[in-house]
Symmetry: C2
């Protein structure tokens, strides 16, 4: 199956090292989503939503390992029990704050992706759909909270 | 960019009509995720998580419209302000309950995808990353709650 970018995400982050590891931990970092003008009519009604989920391609990641040491842990974990970017299908998902819609440009905050990231989809964030209660979070749940962690270079693109 | 399924999702739903429109509204419907055995090592540590987010391909959708009438509304809305499955990149995201991990097979509940859906990725659900507060939800927020809505055939695959 073949996907085609529908736009590009502009952020202040130009290398993996120092980039927020999650949108929820991005401390308000601002960016813009430049949607291909052909898709602009599909952005109607989006401005009523305070948060949107961006689906994008980890375009600098190449290959993957099935065991990884996540940023927040010291132990190796199964890849699918982590959010590490090097994945068999390198698709990223980030929920960001939508600050403004100006024609085909979205101003957003809490970005955690690299500048130039290819955009695949935009979905409205709806807590009725997206929140869950009574959640257990495995290895993550055993950690002391470390909200200031930023990425290092461990997942930079490289052949498998 | 080319993606390759890493498995297949089995559910009780064989046509769009009658399928839950969101995992959060799926009333516990159970299914299985059959991960390609080659990826089984990547499932380590997943069993500690009560919820996982499945990323998948809306394989029966073909083409898209930039304005759609969502299941929950009577008005036309911009496509990207809805979760409609016919999208430029037909990628679906559903957070389901993880009931058990048995080798390369995941037993899950609250499935809202069609039987045979190609799996692209599995991510652990972590409220610290995935929940948001102070959320506005645009047209959705103006609706009376309608938790029993099921899909009809309006988004069945068809050429644009």
């Amino acid at each position: 199956m073949t996907l085609h970018p529908i736009g590009v995400i502009r952020t202040p982050f130009h290398e993996q090292k120092g980039t927020p590891i999650q949108a929820a931990l991005a401390s308000g970092a601002e960016g813009t989503v430049e949607v291909d003008p052909a898709y602009e009519p599909g952005l109607a009604d989006l401005d009523g939503f305070s948060h949107i989920t961006l689906v994008y391609f980890f375009h600098l990641c190449d290959g993957f390992d099935l065991h990884v040491t996540p940023y927040l842990d010291q132990a190796q974990r199964g890849l699918f029990a982590t959010r590490a970017p090097r994945r068999p299908n390198p698709i990223g998902i980030s929920t960001v704050r939508l600050l403004a819609v100006q024609a085909n440009i979205l101003r957003v905050a809490d970005v955690d992706m690299l500048d130039g990231t290819p955009l695949l989809d935009i979905k409205p964030f709806v807590p009725d759909f997206d929140h869950r209660t009574d959640v257990r979070t495995g290895w993550y749940g055993t950690l002391a909270r470390t909200p200031d962690v930023r990425a290092d270079a461990r997942f930079e693109g490289r052949r498998r």
